[in-house]
Symmetry: C2
Subunit: 362 residues, 2 copies
């Protein structure tokens, strides 16, 4: 993996990654000239016992690009800079201009309110998967996907080393149905000042299970899913993908290493290569299902970076496509959002069979 680190004219950081060496003379462009004035703050939700972040400047974006403008394309015309330079790189990571988390130097203190408040420490990064605006993550070559897994590992390690960052979540929102208007293949990394509610809950459950049985719940589930085989979508020497027996979304798929690994940075080259194959297989099956790009939310869960040991952690991705059928969305409504109790009208075994039948070529 080759890397070049640059600073944008507005002070944001940009890192370029390549399978080949990168020209050290590249310059970092920015559509914005002025320094970022980020000052998100947190408010305590006293009923749910969790933090909520407020970044009110996000809605006031003065930057209104024309519809054909793609800020994630490489800059062709220096008079109309994008976020990225032309040149030989494969994956790029830069600071989000409109972060939900993060504080500019000298940002004002959080407001004093009737609930506890705090500066929204943390960081939001944008990860551009490829220079090709018409590609998709699943369509990239395997060694390009492997590079991305390496990049996620490096970002996690760097962010996680910061004292104020307790959890790093790489994710991809794909498709207009999940609110994404920018179709250039990209994802995001949120680095949180706390372990957020969902990973915190999963961590607590896993710790209890690990203490009782010496193995985490995902490790045990993978053993059972492999033995059953009924819902398995991909199985290689080191990685597996399956529709979990407890899927909450019809086409939900989980991807993991077979042996528990706490995070991307702990992957061996062989594990990483097989995880890339598993990921490419799932994404191509998704797009093959109805011969069109399937929208999804993909999140990668790793060990918290809170300075504690996490032997219970097990790197894995959860993918949630928002469709129930070819033309019907699954809306999260009363029971899912208000009660947190998911109701499924499809059986995971049936959906797994549909995905198993989609043929793909890596």
């Amino acid at each position: 993996m080759y890397r070049l680190e640059l600073t944008k004219p507005d002070g944001r950081q940009l890192a370029l990654y390549g399978r080949q060496p990168i020209d050290p003379h590249l310059q970092a462009p920015s559509p914005f000239a002025e320094p970022l004035n980020a000052s998100a703050h947190l408010r305590w939700h006293p009923l749910r016992g969790e933090w909520v972040t407020y970044a009110a400047y996000r809605q006031g974006r003065t930057f209104l690009p024309p519809p054909e403008y793609n800020p994630l394309a490489v800059t062709r015309d220096p008079a109309n800079p994008t976020e990225l330079p032309a040149g030989g790189w494969d994956v790029a990571v830069f600071d989000n201009r409109f972060p939900s988390l993060g504080q500019a130097p000298g940002a004002p203190a959080p407001p004093e309110l009737i609930v506890p408040t705090a500066p929204a420490a943390g960081k939001c990064e944008v990860v551009v998967f490829t220079q090709d605006p018409g590609a998709s993550l699943g369509a990239l070559p395997l060694d390009h996907i492997e590079l991305l897994l390496q990049v996620w590992g490096e970002r996690t390690q760097r962010l996680g080393e910061r004292e104020d960052i307790k959890y790093v979540l790489p994710f991809e929102n794909r498709g207009a149905e999940v609110g994404v208007t920018l179709h250039h293949p990209h994802g995001q990394i949120y680095a949180y000042p706390v372990v957020p509610p969902v990973p915190a809950r999963m961590q607590q459950v896993a710790q209890e299970q690990y203490a009782a049985k010496g193995r985490g719940p995902l490790d045990l589930l993978i053993e059972a899913e492999r033995a059953s085989g009924e819902r398995v979508i991909y199985e290689g020497p080191h990685a597996i993908a399956f529709v979990p027996v407890c899927a909450r979304y019809p086409y939900e798929v989980w991807l993991a290493t077979i042996e528990p690994v706490p995070g991307f940075a702990g992957l061996t080259p062989a594990q990483r290569a097989d995880l890339a194959r598993a990921l490419k297989t799932v994404l191509l099956k998704y797009d093959g299902l109805w011969q069109r790009p399937l929208p999804y939310l993909m999140a990668w869960y790793q060990a918290a970076t809170d300075g504690l040991e996490h032997p219970e952690a097990h790197l894995h991705a959860q993918l949630y496509p928002p469709y129930r059928t070819r033309d019907r969305l699954k809306y999260l409504a009363g029971t899912e959002l208000a009660a947190g109790f998911f109701a499924m009208d499809a059986l995971p075994e049936e959906k797994a069979r549909e995905l198993q039948q989609v043929e793909v070529r890596l």
Copy 2:
């Protein structure tokens, strides 16, 4: 409150409620002749430590009505029965034909799988707010809304008395944006066999606070919101509505009694009347905001019906409209769904001001 209880030809229960006495000769129609064959089952999600319900028959609905057919209208032509009889009633409650929870007598045992499974005990009811298909909850007269609050109380009490029901959640999904295709004003009641994750978390937080301070977190928050006044939308002698300081949705509003009451059944007539005024005020302000019906999810939280004392419980509603601005939806994506960490790009104070400025006439 007057009540008439009936049984539909397919065996489902129907209860009609009125401000006036109801003709005891009314008959319960049903679009379905055959008994319901419900057999939802639960599967344990070993990573999140929660149950998921599976009701696969829901997707296989053979009943495909024409688009103009409204099953919640009263039956005009006995050859084309709807769910409800014509006659003098105001609010109707009947068993959902496609329940996510519930077991028909003699239903098969849940499947044996690689995770624990269980019969999906519980019940799903449909609550029709009015006979008028073109009305809306907020447009109903105050005494009609009071009746609905009474009905919610009666249903909660009856369902909660059942040994297998631990939590009762009345809610309304309104609008195509939250997945509702049937525009006749109606809501649902889910009666769960467990305390679901979100109320369970709120209950745990409230119990800790109550043990430490002798008052629950909502009671304390309401005191502070009243003292501040900045985000208050309605304040009467017994009820209050406000954009909470910790709102997770731009136009989120909470409605509650000022004095803690554990549930609908514990309301005094004066509290119920004021809560109806608060609810009507908020819903009319919602629809007045952009002079069009605002979609929302509204959920009413009460004490669990698990047989324990719940002095920490405080009846309230949380309302989540899915819009960020007049023409932009707030999508729940990576950070909200995968991390459970909400990011807001609007300040609750600003949104409260917008709602405060909408004038309504009760």
